[in-house]
């Protein structure tokens, strides 16, 4: 208790929390949508709450929900979630200069909480990729606000969704959000082609068993994207996404 009070008085913790307050309003709205989408897609309340706590990743959750509801095999869900989360792999390399020297157990805890917007705020405060005093409390202040606002509104969405009749179709909020996220990743011809190929293959191959249409679509789209990319030379990383 004493430790918590000292922590809350730490200037860097407060600064991290303050910097995260405005972005976390958007995060909270996402949490609400994800919570509603989980139960309205057929997940029971305990399953939805567990998913929210364990995954803590909006896009990956919204992508996994229809697969889980349709009874897709575990490895297909893992492959889809991994692909959606690949942007975090790049961010993890960016975190390393700041936190790479910490004990591994601590790095594990950091990794679970390290969402995209936390990285944006963190690099804004500490542009130089070197360990500095105050970085760790700043990180924890920010992720605390982010995690709490996401989880609270996600739980609210789960409980709310449980009371709304299914025929309203509120689970459609999930695909609608993902349409925006896909839009944010369309930066050039190669990404447009990849998205079009993925959508077409996924629909045409829908009859495949085990939800393999999703994997077939990813493979075809990556191949198509690389092919178009090979003919032009521009490279822009599509990283404009949130959690």
């Amino acid at each position: 208790m004493h430790g918590l009070r000292a922590w809350l008085r730490n200037d860097f913790v407060r600064l991290g929390a303050r910097d995260m307050t405005a972005p976390s309003i958007g995060i909270a709205a996402w949490g609400l949508v994800t919570g509603v989408a989980m139960v309205k897609s057929g997940l029971s309340v305990p399953v939805a709450l567990t998913m929210s706590l364990l995954m803590f990743a909006a896009s990956a959750q919204l992508a996994t929900i229809p697969l889980l509801a349709a009874g897709a095999p575990v490895w297909v869900m893992l492959a889809a979630a991994t692909c959606v989360n690949l942007r975090f792999v790049v961010l993890s390399a960016q975190w390393r200069p700041y936190f790479g020297a910490l004990p591994r157990a601590q790095r594990m805890r950091l990794a679970y909480f390290a969402a995209d917007l936390n990285y944006v705020q963190f690099v804004h405060r500490f542009p130089e990729p070197l360990p500095r005093p105050g970085q760790l409390p700043y990180f924890w202040g920010g992720v605390a606000i982010n995690w709490i606002s996401w989880q609270l509104l996600s739980v609210a969405g789960v409980l709310l969704g449980d009371r709304v009749p299914t025929h309203w179709g509120l689970d459609f909020a999930g695909p609608l959000v993902l349409i925006g996220v896909v839009g944010s990743m369309l930066v050039d011809r190669a990404t447009w082609v990849a998205a079009g190929v993925a959508a077409a293959v996924s629909v045409l191959a829908y009859a495949l068993p085990l939800k393999l249409n999703v994997l077939a679509a990813i493979v075809a789209a990556v191949a198509a994207g690389l092919l178009v990319d090979h003919r032009s030379t521009r490279t822009v990383l599509p990283l404009d996404d949130r959690t």
């Binding site: 057929g42 792999v89 896909v182 190669a190 996404d241």
Partner: protein, 114 residues
Amino acid sequence: MQDGVEWTWPVVLTLLALGGVTLLTRGFFLLPDREWPLPAWLSKGLRYAPLAALAAIVAPEVVLTQGQLVQTWQDARLFGALAAALCYAVRRDVLLTLVVGMGVFLPLRLLLGW
């Protein structure tokens, strides 16, 4: 929409594995003790894989009904998705996209039964 996904051991283990995906992707280069360089195949695949996975999951949710292509244009999802796509193209704001998409989808679904 099928039967509900209930709290059973296979489901809980699946969720644990999916939580592991979050941890391993967010910690991919932070967790090893020695530093690895970002492999070229990963940075190239990264450009298209997340986009492909999301598009592959969204498209059937919009245009298929129980595995069949929609047979009528009177489907609230088509108009909701179209409105959302147009909204994002103009305003580039994901939350606004959701609000506009739902604003088109819900009246069609609830008032007209599309």
